[in-house]
């Protein structure tokens, strides 16, 4: 659990972060989003004291972060950044084992942990353990970066635009992986990005920052449906908001039970988003889809009318 209480950061006369208060609950994925220079990275880096805050208090599990030695504090938190920051002169295995080694774990335990993490992130031991970072693709390097951040099993994970430099396809698959990981590991994650789609995909708790202040925070759909001001609305892309919302809602929310009509030919999984369902309809020129469960059994149907159904119908 992370609490920021009236935190301000000044660099000389410039105020980078202006009196923000933010509480990230245990096991929550909190995304800080905003344009560049809005203070989101500064906020993140104040949590592990790479930047010292000027005013206010920051607490981890109820204790002020200034009570800890910087190194001790940082070793308790995973840290992943856009450039990966992998050490180019160390192998993948050694990179991942960095924090456990700093914490003086016995060698056998480090080895076991490295193997566990590489398996967790889908990196085969034989293929990657002895490679150097320059021999990896961007996606692989970022996986190693995430594995390294998770190495000492920290409760808190700080991620500063970790997927920002990747191509869209790799980025999406890593976003999915992060969500799956989070479903299993329940870390408290603070994630910084300027990409609103990424923020909406990942966030349990969305924080929009602008000019060093928090302009709005809450549940993503809440922000999407009721933006606090024009700035937040423009971040959500104005007219594009409908699709962004559809991307967040599962088909199962709008489908109706199987009727007496013949089942439609085109199918969609019940976990798919409404956006995907709409795309299938557009592509197949179909007004009705059969909704199937994970085993492919029909469980309902979704019509275009139901799909676009006004929100109040929920």
């Amino acid at each position: 659990m992370i609490d920021l209480i009236h935190v301000t950061k000044r660099f000389g006369v410039a105020t980078a972060v202006d009196d923000i208060s933010l509480s990230v609950a245990q096991g929550e994925l909190c995304v800080l989003v905003g344009t560049s220079g809005c203070g989101k990275s500064t906020t993140l880096r104040m949590i592990n004291r790479l930047i010292e805050h000027s005013e206010g208090e920051i607490h981890i599990d109820g204790q002020q972060i200034r009570r800890f030695r910087q190194e001790t504090l940082r070793r308790r938190m995973g840290y992943a950044i856009q450039s990966t920051g992998l050490f180019p002169h160390w192998t993948v295995a050694r990179n991942i084992g960095l924090v456990p080694r700093l914490l003086k774990w016995p060698a056998a335990r480090i080895q076991a942990r490295v193997e566990e993490l590489m398996a967790l992130l889908g990196l085969s031991m034989e293929e990657f353990a002895h490679k150097y970072p320059h021999q990896l693709s961007g996606g692989q390097a970022q996986r190693v970066g995430v594995a390294r951040a998770l190495a000492a099993d920290p409760d808190i994970l700080l991620m500063d635009e970790p997927f920002g430099a990747l191509d869209p396809i790799t980025r999406e698959s890593l976003q999915d992986e992060l969500r799956e990981l989070q479903a299993r590991l329940h870390k408290t994650i603070v994630f910084v990005t300027h990409d609103m789609d990424e923020a909406l995909r990942l966030a349990d708790h969305l924080v929009v920052m602008h000019q060093g202040r928090i302009v709005q925070q809450g549940w993503p759909l809440e922000l999407l449906r009721e933006p606090a001001d024009g700035f937040v609305e423009s971040l959500f892309g104005g007219e594009d908001r409908g699709l962004k919302e559809a991307a967040l809602l599962p088909v199962s929310q709008r489908m109706q039970p199987l009727g007496h009509d013949l089942p439609a030919r085109e199918r969609i999984g019940q976990q798919a988003s409404l956006r995907e369902a709409l795309s299938v309809m557009l592509w197949r020129h179909a007004e009705r889809l059969t909704v199937v469960d994970d085993d492919g059994q029909p469980v309902g149907e979704l019509s275009l009318r139901r799909l676009v159904g006004a929100r109040r119908d929920d």
């Binding site: 790479l50 910087q70 840290y79 950044i81 450039s83 920051g85 992998l86 180019p88 002169h89």
Partner: protein, 386 residues
């Protein structure tokens, strides 16, 4: 790339034809009746006749022929030919010695033709090595046959070779001079390395030191070496006259002390600059991650910044050492000893072979140091051991 497969290799072709022209057109050897008189030059044809000279054209033309349609196989063949020709140069000298040196006093000089051929053959070797993507050790191994051939020829037939005679009349002195030379270079580079690293670290911590430091070092670098020796003469002489223990140590206005001071002065700039730049140039993302993971300042420096900077620092040591090897030759002027002694003696006596006896080992030392430190840099490059 197209050039590799389709057209002729222009570099090889040009080099071998130019070398052939030099080989035929320039004097390959000269013979003098004694040490001081200038020698008479002899071209290839004048040593073994026109038909013999035509025979010696065959390998050069073969090389040009192989370059016309280069395939990896032909290039490898060309490389073998180049190694063979390098090994044949001492044999050619031996042949000339046996044919031309008729009296015991006669001295055989190495002519421009051989120097040019040697130089161009080495260039050909580098070009072929690069084209064939051979590793460094193999490149060095290729030099073994020519060196062995030279050794054998020196032992058996090359008694009249002037360079060899100069060496034999000073063999003890020669080894001493090499020792002095290396000692001066070693101490100067060692001292400047320690000072350089300390200075570079101070510059990173205090930006003020950086400005002033580079200013002074840049200024030092612009003073000509002879002038610097002269400038040091008076203060050092005064010091040795007034401070007993310095005098006991052998410090005086001339000799090793001013030479060492000047060498350290010149070595500092490349050393500091490389060390400083190397430490500064480490990817900030890597440093940020290292700190964010909870490494202490010392750990970041020892485990991340220093190892990543090491190849560039070594590069600085390499440049500094090669430069110091050359500068130490000048230091002989103020009685610091070393191989420069032969150069200045030879210049004084108008004995060019004595000059060569000083200059050639300096060249070889510089090349050796360059290659050794270059190889070390490659090994230490991050992830480069693969």
């Amino acid at each position: 790339m197209r050039q590799d497969t389709a057209g002729p290799n222009v570099v090889l072709l040009t080099l071998s034809l130019v070398a052939l022209a030099a080989w035929l057109g320039l004097d390959t050897v000269s013979v003098a009746a004694n040490r001081i008189v200038p020698g008479t030059g002899y071209r290839v044809a004048e040593v073994i006749g026109i038909s013999g000279a035509l025979v010696t054209c065959v390998p050069w033309l073969a090389l040009a022929g192989l370059a016309w349609r280069p395939t990896p196989r032909r290039l490898a063949l060309g490389l073998a030919l180049v190694v063979l020709m390098l090994s044949a140069l001492p044999v050619w000298l031996s042949l000339s010695a046996v044919t031309l040196a008729d009296s015991a006093q006669a001295r055989l000089g190495i002519g421009a033709g051989i120097w040019v051929a040697l130089f161009l053959l080495l260039l050909l070797m580098i070009e072929l090595r690069t084209r064939l993507v051979l590793s460094r050790p193999i490149g060095w191994a290729l030099l073994l046959p020519p060196v062995a051939s030279a050794g054998l020829c020196l032992a058996l037939w090359l008694e009249p070779l002037a360079l060899w005679q100069e060496y034999r009349s000073r063999s003890g002195q020669f080894l001493g001079a090499v020792g002095e030379h290396l000692l001066l270079v070693g101490v100067a580079v060692g001292t400047s390395l320690v000072l350089g690293v300390v200075l570079a670290l101070a510059m990173r911590r205090w930006p003020g030191v950086q400005k002033a430091g580079f200013g002074v070092l840049n200024f030092l670098q612009t003073i000509p070496s002879i002038a610097l020796f002269g400038l040091l003469l008076a203060p050092l002489a005064w010091l040795s006259a007034h401070v007993d223990w310095l005098a006991a140590l052998g410090v005086s206005g001339i000799g090793w002390a001013p030479a060492l001071l000047a060498l350290v002065g010149y070595s500092l700039l490349p050393m500091v600059r490389n060390t400083f730049v190397a430490l500064e140039a480490v990817d900030p993302g890597v440093i940020d991650a290292a700190r964010g993971m909870g490494m202490s300042r010392g750990q970041v420096f020892r485990q991340v910044r220093l190892p990543l900077a090491l190849p560039v620092i070594l590069e600085g040591i390499r440049i500094t050492t090669v430069q110091a090897i050359g500068l130490t030759a000048v230091a002989a002027l103020i009685g610091a000893g070393g191989l420069g002694t032969f150069i200045f003696q030879g210049l004084g006596q108008a004995a060019m072979d004595l000059v060569l006896l000083g200059a050639l080992p300096i060249l070889v030392l510089a090349l050796l140091v360059d290659a050794l430190l270059g190889a070390l840099t490659d090994i230490l490059r991050p992830g480069g051991a693969e």
